[in-house]
């Protein structure tokens, strides 16, 4: 773990020997890696490898069992309850299971992120949410409720929600799993744009296509451990 000072400064995520187990099930085991500011990183591995668990640890959806982790300057094992919402507002998450609120419209789901972040101006919210729904191709569904959406539409709503707060870090858990190639391309363009804007992007996927189309770093997981088969560099 020798790092020069400037690299330390550029780190936005630092994991050192992080373990997460649920009862006897080890979802992540002794995982160490670093992600620098404005990185574009893929996390990949077979089903059940621990990719989503890693995402959950990052936004504090779960607390890690052991190890040392820093996200955007905050030590995840020391974070106080008051700090959690602050950290989460700096992170946009596209959840694998979308996590849309069933009885709010698509518009309201997306707008909620801004309300939560303290935006008061209704017109600003309307404008930004409208723009984003336009970008993911859901303008005509703005007033639809998630249970009436198709799988791909739900996923795009989740994408819009993750991006609307202009977060520093975007965690995208299989963001194109339910999407056709054209829609996938649009979502990736959005992620690229966020990256260009300076955000750090972390994408989990098992879509080989996706990996091959990007010249990005990839972290390979298997059974909760890092196995750097190709393209990865040991943390």
């Amino acid at each position: 773990m020798e790092q020069n000072n400037s690299e330390l400064h550029r780190q936005i995520i630092h994991f050192y020997r992080v373990t997460k187990h649920f009862g006897g099930v080890y979802a992540l085991c002794d995982l160490s890696f670093d992600i620098l500011k404005n990185d574009f990183v893929f996390i990949t591995g077979p089903s059940g490898a621990g990719k989503s668990t890693l995402i959950k640890l990052l936004y504090l959806g779960e607390r890690m069992s052991d190890g040392y982790a820093i996200v955007d300057g905050i030590n995840l094992s020391r974070i106080s309850r008051q700090q959690i919402p602050m950290l989460r507002r700096r992170i946009g998450v596209i959840f694998q299971d979308f996590k849309l609120i069933a009885n709010r419209t698509v518009f309201q789901n997306v707008a909620l992120v801004m309300e939560v972040a303290g935006f008061k101006s209704r017109s600003l919210i309307r404008e930004r949410v409208g723009d984003l729904l336009e970008l993911v191709g859901l303008s005509h569904q703005a007033d639809a409720y998630p249970p009436t959406l198709s799988g791909g539409e739900k996923q795009r709503a989740a994408v819009a929600r993750a991006m609307v707060g202009k977060p520093k870090i975007i965690l995208a858990d299989e963001p194109t799993a339910s999407l056709d190639p054209a829609a996938s391309e649009r979502v990736l363009q959005l992620l690229r744009a966020a990256h260009a804007r300076g955000a750090t992007i972390i994408i989990t996927t098992h879509d080989r296509d996706l990996l091959s189309r990007f010249d990005a770093r990839a972290i390979y997981l298997e059974g909760g451990r890092r196995v750097d088969a190709a393209g990865g560099e040991a943390g």
Binding site: L60, M86, E115
Partner: protein, 292 residues
């Protein structure tokens, strides 16, 4: 602040069915509590009205002048528990006795003259709660030099007060129990509302809401549900009261007694309790959900 209101209102619309069923439950719960209160208040009034007849007769010594008697009456009026004191000349007393004996009044015609002394009739305040107090009062009156003898329905009154007190204690205990039970029902209802929304709450937290953002609209909703439930429940009772009372009164049962609605202060108390309990049920449940 406006945001909190707006969001609480949105939640009401979003969760129509669940909120509707829960509101219905709260209305019924408040209705029961206030019906209880209505019943006990009026039963208490009724017993108090019954008690109105309670009086002590103090027979005066034979040599007491009218002036002295009036002075004694004034003095006795100051005693604890005394409502009014009136002077009853021996003639009136005799007429009353005759009346009391009814068919046997012929007995009295055999008497030579009126053997009764003058008397003071002492009526007792309605709030008196205890036979012992009455006994003490009687003793105090007996102790006065003007008074030869004191008479009152001691046994009957002790029994009445026994029952009256039993009733009051029971009413109090019952009202307490029902109130607590209803409180739990309202609180439970709030829990169910929150429980049914735990996923929504969870998602809102995950996208960065702090506790305040989540809590305040929920508190407001809970209090509003409590308020609406309180208004609905007492309103329902009032409607029932208005609908039923005229029939009762015309039935003649209540000629001597006016059933009254629960007093406004109590109504307000019930409604505020309902709000408070709704909020409390929400408060304690929400703490469970907000642990990470």
């Amino acid at each position: 602040m406006i945001g909190v209101f707006r969001r609480a209102l949105g939640d009401f619309i979003r969760h129509r069915f669940f909120h509707g069923v829960c509101l219905f439950t709260i209305v019924l719960a408040v209705f029961i509590v206030s019906a209880f209160a209505l019943f006990f208040i009026n039963a208490g009034d009724l017993m108090a009205a019954w008690q109105r007849g309670v009086r002590i007769t103090a027979y005066l010594e034979a040599d007491i002048e009218k002036e002295q008697a009036r002075a004694a009456a004034e003095a006795i009026k100051q005693y604890e528990g005394v409502d009014t004191v009136s002077y009853v000349p021996r003639e009136e007393g005799f007429a009353w006795l005759k009346d009391q004996l009814g068919p046997h009044s012929s007995l009295l015609s055999d008497l030579k003259g009126n053997p009764l002394p003058d008397a003071l009739e002492i009526s007792i305040i309605r709030e008196l709660e205890d036979g012992e107090v009455l006994d003490r009062l009687a003793e105090k009156i007996t102790g006065r030099p003007e008074v030869a003898d004191v008479e009152y329905a001691r046994k009957w009154l002790h029994r009445f007060y026994g029952i009256y007190n039993l009733f009051r204690i029971t009413a109090f205990v019952m009202a307490g129990l029902v109130f607590v039970a209803i409180m739990f029902i309202v609180a439970n209802t709030m829990r169910l509302i929150l429980y049914s929304r735990r996923e929504e709450i969870e998602i809102t937290r995950i996208i960065g809401a702090d506790e305040e953002f989540i809590k305040y609209p929920l508190y407001l909703e809970a209090a509003m549900l409590g308020l609406l439930g309180g208004l609905g429940g007492t309103g329902l009772l009032y409607a029932g009261y208005l609908a039923v009372m005229p029939k009762f009164s015309s039935g003649g049962l209540l000629q001597f007694f006016q059933v009254r609605f629960i007093p406004p202060e109590l109504t307000v108390f019930i409604i505020i309790s309902s709000m408070l309990v709704g909020w409390l049920g929400c408060y304690f449940t929400i703490r469970r959900f907000l642990r990470i």
